[in-house]
C-alpha cells in the first residue's frame, strides 16, 4: 500500500504524526496497531489489549458505558482491537492526542476504545477515522468514555470514508460530578452509511455538549444523533447539529431525557438541502419529573436567494456567495474547543467546500 495515500488520507482527518503538534499518537491499521507514542507526562496511551493485560480494573470499564446490544456490538465483543487513552488525575493534556483508525483491506474493522479522564484532569483528543480510497467494508467502533469528577474531555472526531464504507460507531459516555464532555463530530466526505447514536449519562452538575457538522452526498445515508440522559440535579446538555444534504439522505436525531429535577437541556437541529436530497429531523425531549428546562429548535431549508443576491451586491460571484453562506451555516461556535482542534475542523470544512458547490 502506498505510503502517500495513507499520509494524505490521515491528513484529511487531522492526523499529522507530528510530535510538535500532538501530545500523543495512535494508529490502528485495519485490525493491527501500527503506532503508539506519547510525548507528554500525565498521559497514557496503549493498545486496548495491552491495557487489559496491564490493568485488572479495566475489565470493569468494558461494556459499562456501552452495553452490548445489537449484532454489531456483539461482533466487537468477540474480536477487537483499539486504543486505551487515559489522562492521569489532575493532568492537563492541552495539546491534542491523535488517534486514527484506518480501514484498508479487512471486510470488517472491529474496534473497542476506552478513554478515561481521571479526576481533575483535562484532555483533548482528535480522532480521525478514514479508509483507503478503494476500500470496501464496515467499520464498527465501540468507544467508551469515562469523565471523572471535575475532569474535562474534549473529543473531536473527523470522519472521511470512501464511498463503499459502512460505519457503525457505538459510543457511550459517563460524566461524573462537575465533569464536562465536549464532543465535536465532523463528516464532510462521502460514505455509504453512517449510523450512530452516542449516549451521555450525566451525574450531578455534569455537562455535555455535542456539536455535529454532517454532509450527506449522493447515495449516502447518514443516520446520526446524540442522546443525553440528565440523571442528577444540575446536569445539563446541549446538542447542536448542522446537516447538509447534497443528494443523500440524512436522519438527524436528538434526544434529551430529564430524569431529575433542576436539569437543563437544549437541542438544535438545522438542515440545509442543496439542490436535492432528504433530511429528516427527529428531536425528542423527555421529562420524567417536574422543574426541568428542556427546549429544542429544528429547521430545514435551502439557501435563500436574497442572501446570495445580498453578497453578490458586495461583489462576490454567485459561487463565492453560495460558499460563504454554506460556510456560515457550518460555523458552530463551539465553546471550550482548543484552537488546534478548531483549525482541524475548519480545514475539513474547507476541503468539503469545493465538493458542495
Amino acid at each position: 500500500m502506498s505510503e502517500e495515500i495513507l499520509k494524505d488520507r490521515l491528513e484529511s482527518v487531522g492526523i499529522e504524526m507530528n510530535p510538535k503538534k500532538r501530545s500523543g499518537s495512535f494508529l490502528l491499521l485495519d485490525q493491527e496497531v501500527k503506532n503508539v507514542a506519547k510525548f507528554m507526562e500525565g498521559l497514557e496511551i496503549l493498545p486496548i489489549k495491552r491495557a487489559l493485560e496491564k490493568y485488572d480494573w479495566l475489565e470493569d470499564y468494558m461494556w459499562k458505558a456501552v452495553k452490548v446490544k445489537d449484532e454489531y456490538t456483539k461482533e466487537v465483543e468477540e474480536d477487537f482491537n483499539g486504543y486505551f487513552i487515559r489522562a492521569l488525575p489532575n493532568a492537563k493534556v492541552e495539546i491534542p492526542v491523535e488517534a486514527c483508525l484506518y480501514l484498508s483491506r479487512v471486510k470488517k474493522q472491529k474496534v473497542h476504545n476506552i478513554v478515561i479522564a481521571e479526576e481533575g484532569s483535562e484532555i483533548n483528543i482528535i480522532s480521525g477515522c478514514t479508509s483507503h480510497p478503494k476500500a470496501m467494508g464496515m467499520h464498527i467502533g465501540v468507544s467508551e468514555f469515562y469523565v471523572k469528577k471535575n475532569a474535562k474531555l474534549t473529543f473531536t472526531m473527523i470522519h472521511s470514508w470512501s464511498e463503499d464504507i459502512e460505519v457503525r460507531p457505538r459510543s457511550g459516555v459517563i460524566v461524573e460530578e462537575n465533569g464536562a464532555f465536549i464532543s465535536n463530530y465532523v463528516l464532510l466526505a462521502p460514505a455509504k452509511l453512517v449510523q450512530m447514536y452516542p449516549t451521555a449519562y450525566l451525574k450531578r452538575n455534569a455537562t455535555a455538549v455535542f456539536s455535529s457538522i454532517v454532509v450527506a452526498f449522493k447515495n449516502a445515508t447518514i443516520d446520526m444523533g446524540n442522546r443525553a440522559i440528565l440523571m442528577e440535579k444540575g446536569s445539563s446538555a446541549e446538542i447542536i447539529s448542522r446537516t447538509i444534504s447534497k443528494g443523500g439522505r440524512v436522519i438527524a436525531r436528538g434526544h434529551i431525557v430529564a430524569e431529575s429535577p433542576e436539569v437543563k437541556g437544549h437541542l438544535e437541529c438545522r438542515g440545509l438541502i442543496l439542490n436535492e436530497g432528504e433530511i429528516l429531523a427527529i428531536p425528542e425531549l423527555e421529562a420524567k419529573c417536574p422543574n426541568v428546562d428542556l427546549s429544542h429548535e429544528a429547521a430545514i431549508g435551502k439557501i435563500a436567494e436574497e442572501e446570495i443576491f445580498y453578497l453578490m451586491s458586495r461583489g462576490m460571484t454567485q459561487d463565492e456567495a453560495t460558499a460563504t453562506i454554506i460556510r456560515g451555516f457550518m460555523e458552530i461556535d463551539i465553546k471550550g474547543i482548543p484552537p488546534a482542534l478548531k483549525r482541524e475542523i475548519d480545514k475539513a470544512i474547507e476541503l468539503a467546500e469545493k465538493e458542495l458547490l
Binding site: E305, F309, L311, G315, T324
Partner: protein, 249 residues
Amino acid sequence: MDMLRLVNLGVEVDGRKILENVNLYVQKGQTFVLFGPNGSGKSSLLMTIVGNPKYKVFDGRIIFKGEDITELPTDERVKRGMGIAFQNPPKIGGVKLIDVLKHCAKLGKTEDKIEEYAKLLGMEDFLHRELNVGFSGGEVKRSELLQLMLLNPDFVMLDEPDSGVDLENIAIIGKAIRMLLERDKPMDERSKAGIIITHTGHILNYVDADYGVILYKGRVVCMGNPFDLLKDISEFGYEGCVKRCLRRF
C-alpha cells in the same frame, strides 16, 4: 458625463407590474433624492438597477456608464462601479461582518481603510458579529454604509439611510454619505453620483442633493428641487403634490 440612464423601464415581481415607463438620467457629480409613499416602488427601482433577479425587467433598458447592463448579474454591475445600502438587508448566520467588509474593501481598493471607516461609523465592536443578526435598526444602517464606503462605488444607492436613526447618528451617517458622494468637492471635480431614498428628508440637512423625484404608483411623476418637493409633500401630501406636478407638466 453619463452615469446612469433608465429608459422606459418596466419591472415586474412574481408577474405583477410594479414599475412602468420609468425614465431617469443621472450625470456624474449629481445626487438625486427619491420620494414616494410606501409601496410606490422606490426600493424596487434600486433593486432593479443593481440587478436583484427577483425584479424582472419586462420593458426598457438600464444604461450604466454608457453600457447596457440590463442583463448583467449583480456582481458584474458592482464590479463596474455601482453600490447599494439596503433598506432591509437579510441576516446571514455564521458569516461575520468583517468577512464581507474585506470583500468590499478588496473591490474598492480600500483595504487600509477598514478600521478607519469602522471607527467613523461606530462599528468597531461589530466586526466579528454575524451579519445583521441581532443588529438594531440604526446599527443595520451604519453597517450598510460601512460596507458601501469600503466598496467605494461611483454610483451610490442609499435606501432610507436615515430611517429610524437617532439625531447623533444622523450626523455621523450624514458625514459618511457626504464623503461617499464627494459633496464637499465642486461639481466638476466629482467622479461620483447617487440616488438617496428618504421619507423624512433628514439626510438633506447634511447632503444638499441636486434633484428630487417623486415615484408614485410605480411611475415617476414629479421632478424638481428636492427641498421644494419635500415642502410640497409635507404641505399637500403626496396626492396633492402629484396633482400639482401633473398640472404643471
